[in-house]
Symmetry: C2
Subunit: 168 residues, 2 copies
């Protein structure tokens, strides 16, 4: 095992470059909650990183708090695009298609406009693609990526729950 | 009825059938969160009542906090029995049946023992049927009912989410 002390296979893989940051195992992290002062909106979010050391830094805690606040304010329905239920996307695409076709544009333009509308829909409801409420110049993906670079660890928003009083 | 001690008029109404509190609309309430100090377990719970006035009482706020704490500690999987997925119950019943049949008891006893085990399973995983962690003499249903009587309003635990770091 040579001069370098290798603690486990994950270390080996990290050293030998089998892991890129984005797919390194993220099993530590924080579960953070947020409730509006009036008690009518509540959020729970799990944010993962690679080590408990990073999970306990102010940088990571602040990120988790920003994410909870974002979810409360911007009401995403999924973390990533592939988690938006396929039938929901299909229904949206269908509705956009009806709208666009009624404009009577050439078919190749129509398809592009529909794709653009679906993309905009995703940017509205997918957490990682949303504009950050505190700085719309950045997406949430930019924000997370920024903290990943600063801490040197892969960071993943694993899941969230958002309750709005009386609304499903 | 004479021998039974009646604690209050609500008791009377319940007995005489004029009591419909459980069916009255509960559209107000509170969303309360709870996270373990280590940030590894988080809970969100929505508790409904009939008026915002009651939602803002200390009694109701305390109930919501107790419920969040209960969910964190006792890890229920559903609010009521009928919300436990049917296939989960079926699998449990099947496993209990195998256990009990291997004992070679008469069939009518076997059925009763299986029912008892399914009932015990529900009391373990259904929030309203769980023993209260702060006072195992009471179930959560007793606790909620007690606050409903004190506040004079129907109270309903509408939903909860519980995240345990790294566990689904």
């Amino acid at each position: 095992m040579s001069a370098i002390q290798i603690k486990n296979t994950q270390d080996v893989r990290r050293r030998t470059g089998t892991f890129t940051r984005a797919n390194r195992p993220t099993s530590e992290g924080l579960i953070t909650s947020y409730t509006h002062h009036n008690g009518k909106i509540g959020v729970l979010v799990e944010v993962n990183c690679e080590t408990d050391f990073v999970a306990r830094t102010d940088e990571f805690k602040t990120l988790a708090r920003y994410l909870a606040e974002q979810i409360a304010g911007a009401a995403p329905i999924a973390v990533e695009r592939d988690q938006v239920p396929a039938d929901v996307v299909e229904r949206k695409r269908h509705a956009f298609a009806e709208q666009v076709r009624s404009l009577g544009k050439p078919e190749h333009l129509t398809a592009k406009i529909i794709d653009g509308k679906v993309d905009a829909y995703f940017r509205g409801v997918v957490l990682m693609d949303q504009e950050w409420v505190r700085d719309p110049e950045l997406t949430i993906r930019d924000l997370v990526q920024d903290v990943a670079v600063k801490t040197g660890e892969a960071i993943r928003v694993r899941r969230f729950a958002r309750f709005h009083m009386g609304i499903a």
